[in-house]
């Protein structure tokens, strides 16, 4: 295959390209010169390397996880006893709002997207994401949004309206001060960031896969990434609309959510949950991708029923858009409509059930190795299935009307989100840690923290089912004694502390391993996808030669020998684009150089967004610096692209 390509597209000799004549250290030096980011702080800021961006995304998300976790601990301390007055009502409301918002918008979605940004190009065998500067811009926008929220919180302007921000409580009359505006604008920031990443990833997956990696040969994780990215693209505009309406209600007195003037408070709920429910799957589907990868590697076999797993992902992604009303069963919408949403909500468990079957069957037929990543997967199944089944319960209208907005729901979605997303994420971090850092995480510490997290989690969240059934509503800063809530809450609080300690241990493990961990080979777990084909950590250009794939598990089927394709330029950043379906080489395409303008554009956007919290004119005036930054960003390159025959 390689030679055929070379023969057909013999490039002019003048331009240096990777190939049999240019390989090894020499190639490494020249590619590094082309792909490495500039030195210094400015260079660090200018980086458009997906690995830098992905890593920063993940680190930032973990920082927000820590912050959100600290708030969770604070809440659990407050709730450990009835009538506790450790934290006041107003502060508690801020805390749970910050916790939910941070976890959903600043941790869960970004961390998944960070993993995707880091892994996708490696897994599909390309050198960069499709739009590196856009991805960099997305990172800075996300960080700016997170900082906005947290700085505001520290300045006593933290939102206190819940992470769902229902108007009229978040509206101009009852949402006092700038707190809800901060929240809404933070959402805008993360929307922009998530959309930018989603667009970039979608293009990367559809056009930059290694030659031969047809859609049917893509790793499941890449499939999950594709599905979630498309979901982001379809769902985020809805919440963007909702938050813009809210800001405009609050800032210039429009009446979108004012029932007195023919607006509707429920409009928000529809728009929000049309985004909010898919968001859960945007968090969950990448996690199933992790699980599929880990299960395959640690069972030492390909996943059973690959097409069904892929179809399940796609089906979940589609069904996710038909369920939003199950968050609104108590609002008094017509009963007949409810039945439809009950059926739709329950039907989501079919694809998920099939995936679980596939994982178990894969383990059954393979030879599972009980290492930390797989432990997390097992914990995931044990935990997530409970969350899934309680999900089936609350899809039923008569049950939901009792359980809605109680601690039962809190238990349910923590089972789904921690059990279903964080456990796989921790497994995935352990799994890909050596790839990213070149060092293994400590297995022993990993197991200790695993057991603490797993057991602590059950202790923290299982009793919440009980407190919910005993009549404890969500979002209360305290509860009276004598309702039977004392014991479950105390258990939850203890469990919460255990989880917090365990996460701390996990982070310590990470930090210690970065410095002192065992050195990792290129493929420490004997995985089969392409990221294991390059060094640990990967070089700036990812692959010296673009690999060629002819099966679902290239590294196992190739027995270490991976076919490659030659001919990309080495002193220009160049990518190989392939066709959407069959991944046959299509064209060579230049890739963007590092640039400080994405970060500057993000700063300009920040000025505009933050300004528009205070004045509608900021939307107008804020466009000026943004326009300048974007103009510079897209300024035509001085160098004419060399005219060459393209691969086609």
């Amino acid at each position: 295959m390689t030679s055929a390509l070379e023969k057909a597209k013999a490039p002019p000799a003048k331009v240096p390209r990777d190939g049999p004549r240019l390989t090894g250290d020499k190639l490494h030096a020249r590619l590094s010169a082309t792909w490495e980011r500039p030195r210094g702080f400015i260079g660090w800021l200018s980086s458009v390397d997906h690995k830098d961006i992905g890593r920063r995304y993940i680190v930032a998300a973990l920082v927000f996880l820590a912050l959100g976790g600290a708030l969770a601990v604070a809440m659990r301390l407050q709730l450990s006893r009835p009538q506790n007055d450790l934290i006041g009502a107003a502060r508690y409301n801020e805390i749970f709002t910050m916790h939910g918002t941070t976890m959903m918008f600043l941790f869960a979605v970004p961390v998944m997207q960070g993993m995707q940004i880091y892994l996708t190009p490696l897994m599909v065998g390309t050198r960069a994401v499709a739009f590196p500067r856009l991805t960099a811009f997305s990172l800075w926008t996300y960080i700016a949004g997170g900082c906005l929220l947290w700085i505001a919180f520290l300045l006593n302007v933290g939102p206190d309206i819940g992470w769902f921000a229902y108007p009229p409580l978040s509206g101009p009359q009852y949402g006092v001060g700038k707190r809800p505006d901060i929240w809404a604008q933070m959402v805008t920031f993360t929307e922009v960031a998530a959309l930018a990443v989603a667009v970039s990833l979608t293009a990367t997956i559809l056009k930059q896969r290694a030659p031969g990696m047809t859609l049917a040969r893509m790793p499941i994780f890449v499939w999950a990434t594709l599905v979630t990215s498309l979901m982001v693209i379809f769902s985020m505009p809805s919440v963007a609309l909702a938050s813009s309406f809210l800001l405009s209600d609050r800032l210039v007195g429009t009446h979108f959510y004012n029932p007195a003037e023919r607006g509707d408070a429920l409009l928000w709920q529809h728009l929000f949950w049309f985004f909010g429910h898919p968001e859960v799957y945007i968090i969950f589907l990448p996690a199933t991708g992790f699980v599929s990868e880990i299960v395959a590697t640690f069972s030492r076999r390909s996943i059973i029923a690959y097409p069904i797993v892929v179809l399940s992902l796609v089906a979940t992604g589609i069904l996710a858009f038909g369920l939003w009303v199950h968050h609104m069963f108590a609002t008094g919408l017509p009963r007949v409509g409810y039945s439809f949403f009950t059926a739709a909500s329950m039907s989501v468990s079919i694809p998920t059930g099939l995936q679980i079957f596939a994982w178990i069957a894969t383990m059954w037929t393979g030879r599972p190795r009980m290492q930390v990543p797989l432990l997390y997967v097992i914990a995931f199944i044990i935990t997530f299935v409970i969350g899934g089944l309680t999900g089936v319960m609350i899809a039923a209208v008569p049950l939901d009307l009792q359980l809605h907005d109680t601690y039962f729901i809190v238990a349910h979605f923590h089972y789904v989100l921690i059990g279903g997303a964080v456990f796989p994420l921790l497994g995935a971090i352990t799994y890909w840690f050596p790839k990213a850092t070149g060092r293994m995480m400590s297995e022993a510490l990993g197991k200790i923290s695993f057991w603490m997290i797993f057991l602590g989690f059950q202790l923290a969240f299982f009793p919440m089912h009980i407190s919910g059934l005993l009549g404890m509503p969500r979002r209360v800063y305290t509860y009276p004694a004598g309702m039977g809530l004392e014991l479950p809450n105390l258990l939850s609080s203890i469990g919460g502390l255990v989880v917090a300690l365990a996460v701390l241990l996990f982070v310590i493990n990470m930090l210690a391993s970065v410095r002192r961990g065992r050195l990792a080979p290129a493929n420490p777990w004997d995985g089969t996808s392409l990221e294991w084909a390059t060094t640990s950590p990967p070089p700036s250009y990812n692959f010296a030669h673009i690999p060629v794939v002819d099966s679902q598990s290239p590294l196992w089927d190739g027995k270490g020998e991976l076919a490659v394709v030659h001919g990309l330029r080495v002193e220009e950043r160049e990518l190989l684009l392939t066709t959407v379906m069959s991944a046959t080489p299509d064209v060579r395409d230049p890739s963007a150089h590092p640039s400080p303008w994405p970060v500057i554009a993000a700063a300009a956007l920040t000025v505009m967004f933050v300004g528009s919290i205070f004045s509608p004119w900021a939307v107008l005036f804020g466009t000026v610096p943004l326009a300048i930054a974007l103009t510079a960003w897209f300024w035509p390159k001085t160098k004419e692209p060399t005219l060459e025959p393209s691969i086609s």
Binding site: V157, P172, R250, H255, A260
Partner: protein, 184 residues
Amino acid sequence: MSSRFRNSCAILAVAVLLGACDREERQSRAKPLGETVPAAASPDTIYPGDPSRARYVDARGASYEGNAFAIAQGQQLYNWMNCVGCHAHGGGGMGPALMDEKWRYGGRIDQIAASIYQGRPNGMPAWRSKLTEDQIWQIAAYVRSLSGQVRKDAVSARADSVSNTPPQTQTVRQPVRPADSDQQ
């Protein structure tokens, strides 16, 4: 980074911090007030002798003026206590307009609080002993916002009711002009 730059950064940060604190501070309870009452403020008038000595400005107004929580509470009380029945949403009716530049009995927050507390002769009832002083100050803070006297980031654009005045976040600040008493 020069030390001057650092200092100015620090000052800016503190200013932002304090600004935010002032605007968003939520006092559910007034500080102990002792025997002083808002009544001490009086409408602008002629002071024989040295006017600077005679003018009394109640300092408590500062902690209510421009405070988002106080204004929001004041807005609710303005409706509950039927201020809205006479003064509408600032346009007036049985009582004078509150969103214009004319102030019969003074337009400072302490003067407004005093008018609410004491009542005024042409039909303004006295709310002393019906409302707490804290509540009176809150209403005064909201009344100040009707004519655009307070910072725009502390007011709400509209209420969840029939659309009435232009968004308060867009209200142009009216000059505070004392008008003659409405005696006929």
